[in-house]
């Protein structure tokens, strides 16, 4: 993933206003800023960005916003613990104030400096310009530490709101589940009156021995907003990590998932669904890196792309030398509705061990017209027939989501934004 600096223009020369107060420690930030002086934004010549142009982000007149107080109630799950960030800043008024035992949870901006200063060091500064920007300019984020053996009943909901125009939000979340703990997160991105805002978010996740950690990630920012979202996950032995990435709106959305499976007997589940229309561009890049033996990973991504929208899927699975007895399955399916919709799908397996069971598959097609005719011959309108079929197609991914609040919101978006009235 090394950056190719073909352009002379450096990342620092973007016309962005970067004033504010930042949460990561100053020497790390200095190094990040210095690195930015030598980095440039990726172009389509950069392999990992071949199908996704970031010029719109680079050329936007973005500015870090001052904290803003907004009113309203947010959250998808009535019983969840809610932590709200508006334009990159923690909103204490909108967030939960009490939480169960065994949980340390607070915004980075609210942490003791000594504790905070050790955070953020583990990510490479010279690989991805958006990581480096985030490290240099993160204004806030959520820190969660689940103590060993604690099972946290309510979901923890991270709500990322953007409001106003040309707002740059850099958020850095740190989620840690200690040994034998269990915790579920919802990460929900929305725009209020959001216009041309860019949310650059990184979530560092550590799942310790025998811990179970789940993230339901729902992205529904406005059609002219941008989001680049990265997860860096470190799985310890016997752990279970699941992430469900659902993208239903947003102009340009890029998800980069990097999961390092560092311990044996782990389970890793990655599910994703994207339903796109208009000029949306949604890019899901995933890496599952099996470094040790006896693990299993399952990846299922499905998309329905209509109008002039574009989807990109790139799923990479590494099975390192000596990582024997790995079961790794990956599948990406796409349905294109309309001649202007497009998808670039690339599943990749790199296997260096010899006793593994791995498979990958990618399908892209249009709806089976014979099936549409069959349904119409039973009295369904053409629109209902198609909707029932695409609903069933992506429904397989939605079925993986356990949180009812998240599922309800997905159904609401499908009906409001996509006018689907029948979802299986």
């Amino acid at each position: 993933m090394s950056m190719q600096t073909i352009e002379k223009e450096t990342a620092s020369s973007a016309n962005w206003k970067l004033d504010g107060s930042f949460v990561l420690n100053s020497s790390l930030r200095e190094r990040a800023k210095q690195t930015l002086d030598e980095m440039s934004f990726p172009t389509t010549r950069t392999e990992a960005w071949k199908y996704t142009r970031v010029a719109k982000i680079k050329n936007a007149s973005l500015a870090i916003a001052a904290p803003k107080s907004i009113s309203g109630t947010f959250g998808l799950d009535a019983d969840s613990l809610k932590f709200v960030f508006v334009n990159g800043h923690f909103s204490k008024e909108l967030s939960s104030t009490s939480y169960p035992d065994g949980l340390k949870i607070l915004a980075l901006s609210q942490m003791d400096e000594a504790e905070r200063n050790v955070l953020g060091e583990s990510l490479s500064l010279d690989s991805n310009v958006f990581t480096t920007i985030n490290t240099a300019y993160a204004t806030d984020g959520l820190y969660v530490h689940v103590s060993a053996k604690m099972v946290i009943e309510p979901a923890i909901e991270i709500i990322q709101i953007n409001d106003g125009s040309n707002v740059l939000s850099n958020l850095r979340h740190i989620l840690r589940g200690e040994a034998f703990s269990e915790v579920k997160f919802i990460q929900h991105s929305i725009s209020l009156a959001g216009d041309s805002n860019f949310t650059n978010v990184i979530t560092e996740v550590a799942v310790a021995r025998n811990a179970k950690l789940t993230i339901d990630k729902l992205q529904e920012e406005n059609e002219n907003c941008f989001q680049i979202s990265q997860e860096f996950v470190d799985q310890g032995q016997d752990s279970n990590f699941t992430i469900n990435t659902i993208t239903l709106n947003g102009g340009l959305v890029r998800n980069d998932l990097t999961i390092e499976v560092n311990g044996q007997n782990c389970e890793t589940h990655l599910n994703g669904a994207y339903i796109l229309k208009g000029n949306q561009h949604v890019d899901n890049h995933t890496i599952v890196d099996h470094k040790v033996a006896h693990c299993e990973s399952n990846e299922l991504y499905k998309g329905v792309i209509s109008e002039k929208a574009t989807a990109v899927f790139n799923g990479k699975v590494f099975v390192r030398k000596d990582a024997q007895k790995i079961n790794a399955f990956q599948s990406n399916g796409n349905v294109l509705l309309g001649n202007d919709a497009s998808v670039n799908s690339k599943p990749e397996l790199e296997i260096y061990a010899d006793d593994v069971k791995c498979s990958h598959g990618s399908t892209t097609g249009q709806l089976d017209e014979e099936a549409v005719f069959y349904l119409r011959a039973r009295g369904l309108s053409d629109a209902s027939a198609r909707q029932l079929m695409v609903g069933a197609f992506v429904g397989e991914v939605f079925e993986k989501i356990e949180n009812e609040g998240v599922v309800d919101r997905i159904h609401a978006i499908l009906s409001e934004r996509f006018e689907w009235s029948n979802v299986n």
Binding site: D368, E370, A371, F373, Y374, L375, R376, A377, R378, G379, L380, S381, D382, S384, L388, M389, A392, F393, G395, E396, N422, N424
Partner: protein, 250 residues
């Protein structure tokens, strides 16, 4: 109920139906037989509204309405049902979910109230019993992984759920063993009333031992060349289609 007059239709510029006439009244069962390539399935496809076919001449009146003017779904909503020769597998779409949608769209078209959940489940229970279809199959994905016999039973189950005025069974006997044939035929006979009608399209006579027609028509070279009582089917079984071909050679 159905009046077909001088129907001409072609596909890819090739004329398949060449002036077909047929009248079906409520309460009647009509069998349409004929050799391969005579146009039997084309007739079924045109009545159901398959867009690949072009009607070049003639008219089809269905209960006082111009059938050919209507889209496939509106024909179904008016009470026309086609049991497919090759029922389509639709992964992920549950049989019952799609049937509820179909039933409600049909009801909406007719200005009726949607079916209640309770009423619907009772319908599924009652109607699946008619064709001895395991209710578990009724709730699975449409035809996915069904055997040939299960697919055909599912067609008749759907027919029972939608309660059409006119049912067209397109080669429903193909690929059925004798037990499945009996079950399917029994289903069709159970659904028969003096208000609805059935057109059975078949190549072989054996289905007509179970679904006894009032009229048998021989379709050959795009026209109905011979009509008669049920005994005509037996004659065709015995003598084959060669004598028809000889008599009505182009």
């Amino acid at each position: 109920m159905l009046k077909i007059k001088n129907l001409h239709a072609s596909i890819d510029g090739k004329e398949i139906l060449k002036g077909l006439n047929l009248e079906v009244k409520a309460g009647e069962v009509h069998a349409i037989m004929g050799p391969n390539g005579a146009g039997k399935s084309t007739l079924a496809s045109i009545l159901a509204g398959r867009e690949e076919y072009e009607v070049t001449q003639g008219e089809v009146d269905f209960d006082g309405q111009d059938l050919l003017e209507k889209g496939t779904e509106d024909r179904a909503r008016e009470g026309l049902f086609l049991a497919f020769q090759y029922p389509v597998e639709i992964p992920g779409v549950s049989n019952v979910n799609f049937l509820r949608t179909a039933l409600n769209e049909i009801r909406e078209y007719r200005g009726e109230q949607p079916v209640s959940a309770k009423e619907f489940m009772q319908l599924v229970k009652d109607k699946s019993a008619i064709v001895e279809l395991d209710p578990k199959l009724a709730s699975r994905s449409v035809n996915e992984g069904f055997s040939g016999g299960e697919k055909k039973r599912n067609e008749i189950f759907q027919m029972a759920m939608l309660d059409p005025k006119l049912s067209i069974l397109d080669e429903t006997d193909s690929g059925l063993d004798i037990d499945a044939l009996r079950i399917v035929a029994n289903g069709v006979n159970t659904l028969k009333s003096d208000k609805n009608a059935t057109i059975v399209i078949t190549h072989y006579q054996r289905l007509l031992d179970y679904i006894v027609p009032d009229f048998v028509h021989v379709l050959y070279n795009g026209q109905i060349v011979k009509s008669g009582p049920k005994e005509l089917a037996l004659e065709l079984e015995e003598k084959g289609y060669d004598w028809i071909k000889a008599e009505f050679a182009e």
